[in-house]
């Protein structure tokens, strides 16, 4: 008696294994995947092939191809579903832009009607399922060393949706715009963090690569990127700590001194210009990446993702807006964008320079003010 297995999803070869050569029956049940020293191929066969659904002559390679196709269809469905969910989010946002009285009427009527109550309860339930499914998959992808970048992008998108206005409905009822924006921002950061966690592993292109291990070169490149990221974060955190220290000193000045400080800042043209430049740079980034999003909607490469890993947290540390981070995420997920990647690196550095100059200006002003106060106090004494 013989059973036939293929040697793997990418192989057309078949291995005929006599039943008597298999491991001792007492250690193997019908679905056991470790039935021989060469069991890797058999593991694949047993775990993938459902004998009831697979035609007798179909090989494992055929099965893998079918599964690959189904998997891609599922990911595409998620992509479509994500787009729909984002459209819903946009419609909810439109409702939030209505006059307060109209908005209050709509939400109160829904919340008080039996049907509305039922709908909100359903949203809460489905939202919980969605978050659970998203987290579970995200965790699983994080735990693995290979994954499908397109799927990762979709999981990240759903993370954004979960943090959006729909999430606000599920969590706290239909709240004001500011709360929703905060929720959306938190959701965006959550998705970004999840995306980063997942990206601790190197991107692979699709299903067949999902089956392969990362190359030593890729692992080495990732380790190098992670190291650079840690260094960049350390530098930015130190800069931010200094800036915070300066701002704390301002906060502890007396109201009169704070007012004098504020007036000093208002009259300081350079500082104002620095803030404006920062704001303009933010706007420019948004415009740039909005264009990018339309031009390169998907795909990922290790190079771009490494850039994301390096730059995303840096800009986060610099306090740049969620939209830019989202755009970076999109850019990181986009293929063939070397020139944009370089541009982003330069822009990130430029933003850092601007912030440093601004910080120095504030620091100088505070120091000057304190010197004046010290001299005044000495004279008074």
């Amino acid at each position: 008696m013989h059973e036939t297995f293929s040697t793997g999803p990418n192989s057309d070869e078949e291995v005929v294994i006599p039943t008597e050569e298999r491991a001792a029956p007492e250690t193997v049940d019908e679905t056991n995947i470790a039935i021989s020293p060469e069991g890797t191929s058999i593991e694949i066969a047993d775990s993938l092939v459902n004998p009831e659904s697979l035609p007798p002559n179909e090989t494992l390679a055929d099965s893998a191809a079918i599964e690959n196709s189904e998997f891609n269809r599922t990911v595409e469905s998620i992509e479509i579903g994500s787009t729909l969910a984002e459209t819903h989010e946009a419609t909810l946002a439109e409702i939030q832009q209505l006059p307060q009285e109209e908005q209050a009427f709509i939400t109160t009527e829904i919340e008080q009607s039996p049907e509305g109550k039922s709908i909100i309860a359903t949203i809460k339930e489905k939202f919980a399922h969605l978050v659970h499914a998203q987290s579970k998959l995200e965790q699983k992808l994080t735990d693995e060393h290979n994954y499908n970048p397109k799927l990762i992008k979709m999981v990240g998108r759903i993370g954004n949706i979960a943090g959006g206005i729909g999430g606000t409905i599920a969590g706290h009822g239909f709240l004001g715009a500011a709360t929703s924006v905060a929720g959306s921002k938190a959701g965006g950061m959550w998705a970004l963090k999840g995306f980063e966690k997942v990206a601790a592993n190197l991107p692979q292109s699709m299903r067949e690569k999902l089956l392969a291990k990362a190359s030593p070169e890729q692992i080495e490149r990732l380790a190098s990127a992670e190291s650079e990221k840690a260094k960049a974060l350390e530098i930015h955190e130190a800069k931010l700590a200094k800036l915070k220290e300066v701002m704390d000193r301002v906060a502890h000045l007396s109201p009169e001194d704070q007012q004098a400080f504020a007036q000093g800042m208002e009259h300081n043209i350079k500082a104002q210009t620095g803030a404006e430049v920062l704001s303009e740079a933010h706007t420019k980034h948004q415009t740039l990446f909005e264009k990018f999003e339309h031009k390169f909607p998907m795909l990922a490469t290790a190079t771009e993702y490494t850039t994301h890993v390096l730059i995303g947290p840096s800009l986060h540390a610099l306090g740049i807006g969620k939209d830019v981070l989202h755009a970076i995420e999109l850019m990181a997920a986009g293929g063939g964008a070397e020139h944009l990647t370089k541009k982003l690196v330069n822009s990130g550095k430029h933003l850092g320079d601007i912030l440093n100059k601004f910080k120095n200006k504030v620091s100088n002003l505070v120091q000057r003010k304190e010197n004046i106060l010290d001299v005044g106090a000495a004279q008074a004494a």
């Binding site: 999803p9 998620i78 579903g81 009427f105 009527e109 509305g116 709908i119 489905k126 699983k140 729909g166």
Partner: protein
Amino acid sequence: MNTLDTAEIIADTQALKRALDEYNKAIAAYLKQAEIQRMRYSIKQSFNSPSN
């Protein structure tokens, strides 16, 4: 990653798809209600306007 893990990820992906579809349906129902209430508000306002 072995194939068993891959099969699990595929199953989880399908579960995510189902969860997303159901969530979308629930939100769509909310939006439908919102549209109905918006129309009601509009009618109510038209009755309350000074011209009436």
